[in-house]
């Protein structure tokens, strides 16, 4: 693992991504001090272009776009990370059980996974948000609910592939219990893939959140980049700054997360290591 981190540190693109994410986190932490009034407060004249007073301009209600971007960072990261984490935990559990026990359980769980993969994810997310009524939690649940099948398939695939390997067969032959094999041998061996794919899930989750907010399915009480873009969209062509900056924020964040994910993948994936 440590060697992996060293390899990661040598990857300049991944480092750049990590740096951007560090800045985003920093922004999240400092937002309450930088913008004590909050992102919803009517800070000045509406639709002002970027200026010294408002470096990113103001939106149609006279809210500071910079404050929105800062507060939206927290929302996006929160939604992205919680949704991805929930999806990974659930997906790994389903995939792990299916891949280890095989047989009818495998068949059943994989049918279920397939099932959830078949339903168009975005439609399902929309539907769930509507059923649960738009709020931070319902958006997280909806995104997690459509994100887990990928992880489940990945973990199952890895388990099945590893299941036939000599060392697994050896431990099973030595009488190791199921959970012991899962947690000591199987999971650590596919952790790198899970981390790499899971980090990419954060990016997808942020994009999904934006899409939902674009259709008016976000939490209206919490500032997010998606909400900003959906609000700024109507004045897109007369006041470009309102949704350009949150758009850039999304782009940079998602891009950086992807770079980190790639970096992790290359650093941790043993099969890529030699090259």
């Amino acid at each position: 693992m440590r060697a992996g981190l060293r390899r990661f540190a040598r990857n300049r693109m991944a480092l750049a991504g990590a740096f951007v994410i560090f800045c985003v986190v920093l922004l999240t932490v400092t937002a309450p001090f930088l913008f004590p009034q909050g992102a919803f407060s009517l800070a000045g004249q509406p639709l002002q272009p970027p200026s010294l007073r408002f470096p990113l301009g103001t939106d149609a209600l006279g809210r500071d776009v910079a404050a929105g971007v800062a507060e939206g960072a927290r929302t996006s990261l929160l939604i992205g990370i919680s949704a991805a984490l929930s999806a990974v935990l659930f997906g790994a559990a389903v995939g792990g059980v299916a891949g280890y026990y095989r047989g009818p359980i495998d068949l059943l769980l994989m049918r279920m996974t397939e099932f959830f993969q078949t339903i168009p994810a975005f439609l399902l997310a929309m539907l769930l948000v509507v059923i649960l009524s738009p709020s931070l939690l319902s958006v997280i649940i909806a995104i997690a609910a459509v994100s887990w099948p990928g992880i489940a398939r990945l973990v199952r695939g890895e388990f099945v592939a590893l299941g036939g390997r000599e060392f697994i067969l050896a431990s099973a032959g030595l009488g190791a219990s199921g959970p012991r094999i899962i947690f000591r041998h199987l999971l650590p061996n596919c952790l790198s893939s899970i981390i790499a794919v899971g980090s990419l899930l954060v990016a997808t989750a942020i994009l999904l959140e934006t899409g939902l907010a674009f259709l008016g399915l976000g939490d209206p009480n919490i500032m997010s980049w998606g909400l900003q873009i959906s609000a700024g969209r109507v004045s897109l062509r007369s006041a470009w700054w309102v949704c350009t900056f949150p758009g850039i924020a999304i782009l940079l964040t998602v891009l950086s997360i992807n770079l980190i994910g790639d970096g992790l993948n290359e650093a941790l994936n043993p099969r890529l290591r030699e090259r």
């Binding site: 149609a60 209600l61 609000a231 062509r237």
Partner: protein
């Protein structure tokens, strides 16, 4: 093209329309000669769910159906009745009988001749039974006599002054009796393939894309219509709709087919023009509704304080992009022409309104807590578009100034409607009212106690009960004398504003955007009127 030019052109149209002179207009030096033919594309948003305009009064249906169906009457620029399918009419001195003389030689699109029997059927069997406004507008209509094929006599139980302003093709379309007889109007096969007497015939409806209307070659107004074809296009995205107008792909967009935020930019386009004419019968107002079943909101002081806390001019400038004006009460100032409107009511737009509001909150017994908050309330976001979320966000900020912590709740249309009009599980709602041609049509139902009907949308959901107001509105319904009606309405407005069962925010000014190649398109009823005279320049 400036607004004044529109008025002049349209006045000329009206003159022509009312005397039914054939197409050739009086030549004016600066106006191009009308040209026949061509396909006009109008934007309608959202796509109508049905074309059964006789049974569903959604606002996105009439731009299409008023091309197909006609009414007994139409209205002039002062919103006075003008001839349509009825050539002339006379009202008995006691106000209880109205005799309509019908146009001769009119046929439906299926070839059937139009007679007084169709009028009788349209009102007695269709409008009275399935038109959602029927129970109000036609409440006094007891029967229709048809002494001959070109005469229809309306018998009323009591005078109904609002009836004569509610007979346009939009409100009370005339359908073909032989098509409807013996069927359920709601399930009639022509619900979505309408057959009327209008200048355009229904051709096809390609769901999700467009409705095509073709020229009615046997239209009863000689030489009309000018256009060969009208296509109503449906584009779900607002920005794309604007782009279609800018690119010249669409010629005409009325009501909210264009986003208010885009209007200024579209007005600057060299190929587009705009007008605010033709919305006289709309009288649209944005408002807040308070659920008076809630103990906090049962207190008049709290409701008034909320009304004081909101800067209406801010909403006009920043939510409606200037296409509105601040409202003073439940009646739109559009009704000043009829004398019904008054601004002599409690005014919330005073300079020290925030102080007053805070004082009222103190008096009501809601002191600020340690966190500066007096109470928490939910605001239900109107689900009909982006602008309502913006308005809600502003109201949240505005009410924070007087210590009310507002949480916005945004749900889909069905849930929102059920919460506010069936379950009554809301604190503040932000609806949108269209008064129509007369307060009886679209104002009374929000305030009279007889309109507290669970499960019915857009009626008195506030649990507001004031016998004095009920009496005034009841009297105004029956009073034939306009001056006396006006006095009744002035009194009603004073009471309503004082009681503040709601807070009235802005009078919405709609704007029609049109391609400058399109001429003679806007009449007194705007997009709710046939485009029989409209023509396209090359």
């Amino acid at each position: 093209m400036s607004d004044t030019a529109i008025i002049r052109l349209s006045r000329r149209d009206l003159l022509l329309a009312s005397v039914f002179v054939a197409a050739a207009p009086v030549a004016e030096a600066q106006t191009p000669t009308p040209r026949r033919g061509g396909t006009m594309v109008m934007l309608v948003h959202p796509e109508p769910s049905t074309l059964a305009t006789y049974a569903v009064s959604a606002g996105n249906i009439p731009p299409v159906t008023t091309q197909i169906y006609e009414g007994l009457l139409t209205y002039d620029w002062d919103l006075k009745p003008a001839p349509a399918l009825a050539k002339s009419w006379e009202i008995a001195p006691d106000g209880k009988t109205i005799t309509f003389r019908l146009q001769e030689g009119v046929t439906f699109h299926n070839g059937q001749p139009f007679t007084s029997a169709d009028v009788q059927y349209s009102f007695m069997e269709v409008a009275k039974k399935v038109n959602p406004n029927g129970p109000v507008i036609l409440a006094e209509l007891t029967s229709i006599d048809t002494p001959d094929p070109l005469t229809a006599v309306f018998n009323l139980a009591n005078p109904a002054p609002y009836l004569m302003v509610s007979l346009s093709s939009n409100n009370m379309p005339i359908v073909c009796k032989s098509v409807f007889e013996g069927t359920q109007p709601l399930n009639n096969p022509t619900a979505n393939r309408p057959i009327g007497t209008g200048p355009f015939k229904f051709a096809e409806w390609n769901r999700g894309q467009y409705i095509r209307l073709d020229r009615n070659d046997r239209y009863w107004k000689p030489g009309l219509p000018m256009l060969n074809r009208i296509i109503a296009r449906f584009i779900p995205d607002a920005a794309t709709r604007s782009a279609a107008l800018e690119a010249g792909e669409a010629h005409y967009a009325a009501y909210s087919a264009v986003n208010a935020a885009d209007i200024r930019r579209l007005q600057a386009s060299p190929i587009l023009g705009s007008t605010t004419q033709g919305y006289g019968m709309t009288a649209a107002i944005t408002a807040l509704e308070f659920n008076m079943r809630r103990p906090n909101l049962a207190k008049k002081e709290v409701r008034q304080a909320i009304a004081y806390a909101i800067d209406r001019q801010f909403l006009v400038d920043n939510v409606l992009y200037g296409f509105a004006k601040p409202a003073t009460g439940p009646l739109s100032s559009v009704f000043s022409t009829s004398g019904f409107y008054t601004d002599q009511v409690r005014r919330f737009d005073v300079p020290d309104r925030i102080d007053i509001a805070n004082r009222l909150m103190d008096e009501a017994g809601f002191p600020r807590g340690t966190d500066g908050k007096r109470m928490s309330l939910y605001l239900e976001i109107n689900s009909f578009g982006e602008q309502w979320l913006r308005q809600g966000e502003y109201i949240k900020q505005a009410l924070a100034q007087i210590g009310i912590d507002v949480t916005l709740r945004s749900e889909d249309t069905a849930t929102w409607l059920r919460r506010c009009y069936t379950d009554y599980d809301y604190d503040i709602n932000e609806p949108f009212y269209s008064a129509g041609a007369d307060p009886v049509v679209g104002v009374h139902r929000h305030y009279v106690s007889s309109a507290i009907r669970r499960g019915t949308t857009f009626v008195n959901n506030k649990d507001y009960r004031n016998p004095e107001l009920d009496g005034l509105m009841d009297a105004a319904t029956r009073e034939p004398d306009p001056a006396r009606r006006a006095t009744l309405y002035h009194e009603a407005q004073k009471i309503l504003v004082e009681d503040s069962p709601g807070a009235w925010l802005c009078e919405v000014q709609y704007v029609t955007i049109f391609n400058k190649k399109l001429h003679d398109h806007t009449g007194p009823l705007g997009a709710y009127q046939a485009l029989d005279r409209a023509w396209l320049d090359r």
